[in-house]
Amino acid sequence: MNDDAHLVDICNHGDARDAANAFETLYIRHKDFVIRVALRFVPDNDSALDVLQETFTYLLRKFPPTGPGLTLTASLTSLLYPVARNSALTLRRKSDRFPHSDDVLPDDLPAATNDGPSDIPALLRGLPDERREVLMLRFVDDLPLQDIATALDIPLGTVKSRLHLAIKTLRESPEAKKLLSP
């Protein structure tokens, strides 16, 4: 199977058919990741689809003739994540309908209940954005810490610190304790 760097190289230099096929493969490979990221920042599927389209349009424009070409220095997900995130945040800012978690007062947060695994989403919504996104990138998207640092454009130490705090909150929560109890 062609790796992303090889496909990116074909998009840079291949002929019309090969480049379009390589881009299609990249799209199919990463579209679920992008839309999953989008849905962490926007509340509905339609907005997430807009983010998906914007993210891949951005990627496409990197290739000739509109762009100088792309050289992957990290994983493609590290490149796609900030594009999807920023696109989603821009979309969210444009609409007053979507409240930031930062803007939400503690009393507005959904109360954690003892009804089972569904408590975890409420717990996640209660985490500060920057901790939640590091936690999700690490454990849901399986990104190595260095890739997370690249994706968020922050030092590795900051990633570790945010992850530590997020894990601490998670572990100490009644929801997690209940899940971990025999």
């Binding site: 998009c11 291949g14 002929d15 019309a16 058919r17 480049a19 379009a20 881009f23 299609e24 799209y27 579209k31 679920d32 839309i35 999953r36 989008a38 849905l39 962490r40 599927n45 997430a48 689809l49 998906l52 389209q53 891949f56 349009t57 496409l60 424009r61 290739f63 003739p65 509109t66 695994p117 975890i120 989403p121 996640l124 936690l135 999700m136 454990f139 849901v140 399986d142 190595p144 810490l145 260095q146 590795l156 570790k160 992850l163 530590h164 894990i167 998670l170 572990r171 997690a176 899940l179 971990l180």
Partner: protein
């Protein structure tokens, strides 16, 4: 996933599964979006020529270089009058000697031409 020393903090699998479940929004990527993105890609790359139609600059440069090298005097055929309507004579030998003076291997050719002139002269053809 490759774990390095930096992947220092782990979570129990149960919690990881719970996180993944919480993130499962089951997004619906419509065929329309797929079509639009892929249409954009085809348009973006539409003007790319197939590799065999693109000028192979290296091959062109190599051809030009070869032509220049072949054009050098040492790569031209000797002035032996192979296609000449007349048999070679001593003036051809002298001309060849002047043109190839100092070249390695030239002396053998000069000698061969001289021997040909001598043999022709001996047979009375010169």
């Amino acid at each position: 996933m490759t774990h390095t020393d930096n992947e220092f903090e782990e979570l129990p699998d149960t919690l990881i599964e719970a996180l993944k479940s919480a993130d499962e929004a089951v997004p619906l990527i419509t065929a329309r979006v797929d079509r639009e993105v892929l249409k954009m890609a085809r348009e973006q790359f539409a003007d790319r020529k197939p590799a065999w139609r693109r000028p192979a600059w290296a091959a062109i440069a190599a051809t030009v270089l070869l032509a220049v090298v072949i054009g050098q005097p040492q790569f031209q055929r000797s002035s032996m009058p192979v296609m000449s309507p007349r048999p070679p004579d001593i003036s051809d030998v002298l001309k060849l000697a002047r043109e190839r003076a100092g070249e390695s291997g030239a002396q053998a050719e000069i000698d061969a031409l001289a021997m040909q002139v001598v043999s022709l002269a001996a047979r009375g053809e010169s």
